[in-house]
Symmetry: C2
Subunit: 138 residues, 2 copies
Amino acid sequence: MAYIKSVDSVFEIIAEPNRRAILSLLVSSQQSVGEIERQLRMPQPTVSKHLRVLREAGFVEATVDAQRRLYRLRPEPLQEIDAWLAPFRQFWSAHVDALEHYLDRIDPTKEDQSKPTKKKTRRRRRGSNRERDIGETK
Amino acid sequence: MAYIKSVDSVFEIIAEPNRRAILSLLVSSQQSVGEIERQLRMPQPTVSKHLRVLREAGFVEATVDAQRRLYRLRPEPLQEIDAWLAPFRQFWSAHVDALEHYLDRIDPTKEDQSKPTKKKTRRRRRGSNRERDIGETK
DNA sequence: GAATTATATACCTTGACAAGCATATTCCAA
DNA sequence: TTGGAATATGCTTGTCAAGGTATATAATTC
């Protein structure tokens, strides 16, 4: 009775820190709920709930052993994440090379630079070169 | 003035579908807010807000060009995700091999595989061997 | 069968966050 | 300087998910 919505994407699943912890724990070997509970020091209902989410999303599967449930990883959802990452990998290998090329289109003092003699007159498209960096607003 | 909390992990950032869309869009090349807005068909404030989150998390950086902001990817946070995934990759390469070994510890009627002469004899604390699979409750 | 262990689930409360809408800000052009 | 384009931000609201606590279910042992 937990239909109507579940969770759309694998990304929402691994957004939760406790769930990531559980997954990491299961990499080495399968574990019972109690074992997870003890190693991660989290309340049993919390563990069970997260396991349920992980199970319904296909990240883990369980085996019944008496009163125990042995949970283990399933590869597919994680592979899905890996696949999403693929295009970006291409990007960041190219990025090191591209960096120098960017640098001379951008003010080299970057990161914090005092605006360089504020000139105006360019427009985007065509000759533009007046591109300043925006700092993190953190 | 948007400190005190930001977001802890890169995973929470990419949990949001629109943000993933923006990132994917930026893989090919940098884009202005308006371009993103049009291509993804989302309201401008929505785009700006997501860009802000992405920027503060280091996923993107921006360059000012007149009234435009040109956003482009930064590799680090995505690499962080990639790094988290690493241990699991090892797991799923091993998984294909391990599969057959698992199959005879588990009830063979499940899923569909041709069970290889179901043998038993493993345990887990005392005599029990009754390990059943748990179905998705979806 | 009673007590105990292991796990799941129900209910409730609270906090986070995304969207919508309006508005502020900045830069440009005429 | 007025208007318009591009982008950012403030405020409000609804939704959803996570945690806490209690309890249900199931298997085990005595």
